[in-house]
C-alpha cells in the first residue's frame, strides 16, 4: 500500500454577470427624518456579504458613516427590480446601481444643505462623519441629520435617489459570431495538493494555494471568507457531492446529509490565498467580487492532482474512491506522473 502525493493546477477567467436582457439591477435610496439612509434592493444576501458591501458603497458615495446606512434586501413584491444573486453579478451589478442611486441622494442632500447654509451646493463637501461643510471653511457646517430634518420638515424635499445598472445588449455579428457577452472578467489560479491511497482509492486534499484577481477587494475579510468557504465547496463538489451516485442510473440517491457527502470539520485544508487587486474600470470602486469562481477552479485542479498522483484521469464528478480504484486497476497499478 502506498499513499501517493499529487499536485494539480487550474486557472479560470470568469465572467461577471450576464449580457442577456441587459442584466438589470436597481436600487432605491432615501433618507429617514433623522438623517440615516435606507438602501432598498431586491438583490439577495444569502451569506456572501451583499448587504455589507452595498452598505459600504452607499456610505462612501453619499459621504456618510457606514453606521448610518441600512440595507433592506430581497422582497421582490416591494423592492425595485433585480435579476437576482447569481452569475457572480452581485457586487458589480448591484454595486453600480447603488452608486447611481446614492449619487442622486447625495446631490439632493447637498442642495438641501446649501439652502440651509445659503451657499452654492457646488461649494459644499462631506466629511464622512455626518457633517456637511463649506469647502475650505470647516466651521461653516451643518450635520446630515439637521439637513434631513430641514429638507423634510421645512423645504418639502426628499433626500432620495434612484439607480439602475443596465448592460447595453450586444448582438452577435451574423458574419463572425462576435459579440461582447460580459462587461468584465475576474481571474484566478489555483494549486491543489492531494494524497491518494492506492488500495482504497481514497483522495484527501492536503493543501490549496490560490491567487484571485477580484478587482478591488471592497471588504477584504468578506473576500477571504468567500474564497475559503468557496474552495471547501469546490473540494466537496470535486470529491463528494452527488444526487445520482450511479448516474445515469437514478438508483440509490442520497436521502439525507449522512449519505449526501460533504467534507467535515476534520478535513479542513490549509488554504493560502493571494488576493490581487486590480480595480476594474466599470466596477463599483473597482470591485468585481469573488462570486462563483471561489469554487469552480478547485474541481479541475483536484482532477489534475489525482492524475498527477496515481495516473488516473477522472472526467466524471465526483471523483469517488471507486472511480479512482477502478482507474488504478485498469492501469495495472498506480502510475504517478512525476514529482509532486
Amino acid at each position: 500500500m502506498t499513499i501517493h502525493k499529487g499536485r494539480g493546477f487550474a486557472c479560470i477567467n470568469y465572467p461577471i454577470g450576464m449580457n442577456l436582457g441587459g442584466d438589470p439591477a436597481q436600487a432605491l435610496v432615501h433618507s429617514t427624518p433623522d438623517g440615516k439612509f435606507m438602501v432598498a434592493l431586491s438583490a439577495i444576501d444569502l451569506g456572501q456579504g451583499m448587504k455589507s458591501v452595498t452598505r459600504q458603497i452607499a456610505a462612501e458615495t453619499i459621504g456618510v458613516p457606514v453606521e448610518d446606512v441600512y440595507v433592506d434586501t430581497a422582497d421582490s413584491d416591494t423592492g425595485p427590480h433585480d435579476m437576482g444573486s447569481f452569475a457572480s453579478r452581485g457586487t458589480h451589478r448591484v454595486g453600480n446601481a447603488v452608486i447611481r442611486a446614492s449619487a442622486e441622494a447625495r446631490k439632493q442632500m447637498m442642495e438641501a444643505a446649501a439652502e440651509e447654509l445659503e451657499v452654492n451646493a457646488a461649494d459644499l463637501d462631506t466629511d464622512g462623519k455626518g457633517n456637511i461643510h463649506v469647502k475650505g471653511a470647516p466651521s461653516r457646517s451643518i450635520t446630515v441629520a439637521e439637513t434631513a430634518i430641514a429638507a423634510q420638515f421645512k423645504q418639502g424635499r426628499t433626500l432620495a435617489g434612484r439607480g439602475i445598472f443596465l448592460i447595453p445588449p450586444s448582438e452577435a455579428n451574423p458574419e463572425t459570431g462576435e459579440q461582447t457577452p460580459v462587461t468584465c472578467f475576474a481571474h484566478a489560479a489555483l494549486v491543489v495538493e492531494v494524497e491518494v491511497d492506492d488500495e482504497t482509492g481514497d483522495v484527501e486534499v492536503t493543501a490549496i494555494n490560490s491567487a484571485y484577481e477580484v478587482g478591488r477587494a471592497l471588504n477584504p475579510k468578506l473576500v477571504e471568507q468567500q474564497l475559503i468557504g468557496g474552495a471547501w465547496m469546490g473540494v466537496s463538489h470535486a470529491l463528494y457531492e452527488t444526487t445520482e451516485p450511479y448516474y445515469p442510473a437514478r438508483d440509490h440517491g442520497p436521502e439525507d446529509f449522512n449519505t449526501y457527502l460533504m467534507p467535515g470539520p476534520g478535513q479542513i485544508v490549509p488554504h493560502h490565498i493571494a488576493v490581487l487587486e486590480r480595480p476594474a474600470e466599470d466596477a463599483p470602486f473597482g470591485g468585481k467580487g469573488p462570486g462563483e469562481m471561489c469554487a469552480n477552479p478547485v474541481l479541475p485542479a483536484v482532477a489534475n492532482a489525482v492524475y498527477n498522483a496515481v495516473g488516473v484521469r477522472c472526467d466524471r464528478l465526483p471523483i469517488t474512491p471507486e472511480k479512482v480504484l477502478r482507474g488504478i486497476r485498469a492501469n495495472g497499478g498506480a502510475r504517478p506522473k512525476g514529482r509532486a
Partner: protein
Amino acid sequence: MPKTPLTFTLNDGEVAVFVDPGASLIDVLRRGVGDLTPKQGCAQGTCGACTVLIDGKPHLSCLTLAETVEGRRIDTTAGLAGGPNLHPLQKAFMEGFSAQCGFCTSGMLMASKALLDRTPNPTRDEVIEAISGNLCRCTGYEPIVDAILSAAQQGGAR
C-alpha cells in the same frame, strides 16, 4: 386528538404549553413558544441546526419528542446573550466572520457552548469533534473552529 400539558425551563424562564401527540421539541420551541433560534434543517438528525442543550447536554431538538422534556432545562441561543452583552462565543463568531448564511450558527453556538461548559480549554481536535454533528455549507468550518478556540481563550465558558 387530546393535547398533552408540558412544562419545562427555557433559558431561565418557565414555560407551560400544550403539545400535539408526536410533536418534536423544535416544533414546540418555534411554534408553541416562539423561540425561533433553533433552526430546522433536515428533520432527520443529520445537520445539527436544531441543536439545543437539555440539562446542559447537546441534543437534536428535531428528534426529541417534546413530552420527554417535562421538568427539564432547555437552553437555546436565545438565552446566550446577557442583555446587550453577547456571549463570548457569539462575540468570537461575529469577530471571526464565522457565519455567512447563518443557518448553522445557532446549532454551532449551542454545540460549542456544551463543549466549553465542560472543557474550558479544548484542543483543536476536541473543538472539531464537538461540532462534528453540525453541518456548515458556507464557511469551510475553519472560521468556526478558530472562533470557538478564540472564545475559549477569552474565558468562553460563562
